[in-house]
Symmetry: C2
Subunit: 307 residues, 2 copies
Amino acid sequence: MSIVVVGSVAYDTVETGHGGVTEALGGSASFFSVAARFFAPVSVVAVVGVDFKPEHQQFLANRNIDLRGLERRPGKTFRWHGRYHEDMNLRDTINLEMNVFEGFMPKLLPDQRRCDYLFLGNIAPELQEGVLEQVTSAKLVAGDTMNHWIAEEGPALKRLMPRLDIITLNDEEARLLSGEHNLVKAGRAILRLGPRSVLIKRGEYGVLQFSREGMFAVPAYPLEEVVDPTGAGDTFAGGLMGYLARAARFDESALRTGVVYGSVMASFAVEKFSLDRLADLTWEEIDRRYRAFIDLTDSHHSRWTSQ
Amino acid sequence: MSIVVVGSVAYDTVETGHGGVTEALGGSASFFSVAARFFAPVSVVAVVGVDFKPEHQQFLANRNIDLRGLERRPGKTFRWHGRYHEDMNLRDTINLEMNVFEGFMPKLLPDQRRCDYLFLGNIAPELQEGVLEQVTSAKLVAGDTMNHWIAEEGPALKRLMPRLDIITLNDEEARLLSGEHNLVKAGRAILRLGPRSVLIKRGEYGVLQFSREGMFAVPAYPLEEVVDPTGAGDTFAGGLMGYLARAARFDESALRTGVVYGSVMASFAVEKFSLDRLADLTWEEIDRRYRAFIDLTDSHHSRWTSQ
């Protein structure tokens, strides 16, 4: 049931109305793996520079995240500097330094190639394809993307689509990829590109899932305070894939439960900067919020009447 | 189980990306009563001018909506002219003519005063208070309001609050009334003003409910096309109150089911202009969409596994 994640490990500088952090641990592979590790073993494929700090390596290693595939190359680690608006659905990129991430050519170790679960973080679709070529027998493949690749690498992305079980994207990206403004039309159009399931992430408005079995809509867990939305999408994917790997099922029911666990994990991630909240999170807290989430969305209020 | 609604009957001119209508039947009491009438008897308290067309009177009367309280006064019927942005959460008021609605002093008939269920549509809080004074024994009172009354009549509105079982408002109004930007804080702050339940309407993002028993979040039913959002909030309230009157219960479970029925009714209302979609709606369609809605939001997908 081991999960391989291919993505970025980065240093994030983030400014929000609640303050900020400078060069904190971030990147899709970091958020994903820390979230998924609550559910199943995780193995990372990523690249960092020589400036990657031992304390961050240790932080991930302490959580039993397999870092044999974390390549260290001459140069600096990927850096992102972002500033959120008061409406935290909006943010500006102040600075972006690809650094060693620029020449990232993911190469899986022999045992990683035999993984059951694969998450392709947001990298160029051709690199995502290259990873898929190396994997021999994955039971479940999920991929993330972004507006840049949709605009610049559309054909490669569309080639990739039928090979994904799950594609995750945000609402703006779904509109761009499908050419449809309406999200129901957009979700259905992307489903026709080939993935078994389309997950549209809407930030504070939750997630819309499209599959052949129908639509599933969940709100985001309503929080009194959102400190830093960075990494919420990758944390969501980590909770989702982690749950599916642990359940070892991929039917509609498992997928929906996975979406709830993903939403639960993301709701924690945004409560503090960087990975700070995920770092001190306990399974008891996850379980408690999962139950609260089920109660929050239960139209029959069956928690009180039938359980 | 009869419901009394106090509100507006209006002529709406609406422009959207899908076209428009001129002087179509609208107003909170119209949308509310047509929606609620699918569930329970409804009696209207409103005012129209001498220009109110017999065909519109007939349309409401044909649905067995009690119009003895629809006062006809010298002058013209309330008129609203609005234009929606491409993002239909936004609209501009092009023109507003209060006309006979300006001097509206709602006066209930003797049998209306003994109603079990009362909906106070969006009118001045002092008028809403005046209606409450006339009612002797309502089992359930719900009220709607708007930013204008929050800004101009705050003290009267806050006086009214503890006398309401349910207050409905949109997200912007909830922020204005509570002084909290975060909707969880806003909902809880409004709950402390006295109502038993606070329903924050978020348009295409659904509804957040706050009560002493906790939070409930439902998405809006995802539609491929929204033609005209006018009246969605009052239609929602009509479905909610209609269901509660029919169920004759007001526990958390009934309230949640009512919120789903309200959301279902609103999802129909926006499919066509004015009351056009509600006009040709059948109970079979409501029932089918209610089931689809339950399936849409069911994290356990129990429809397939346990029913």
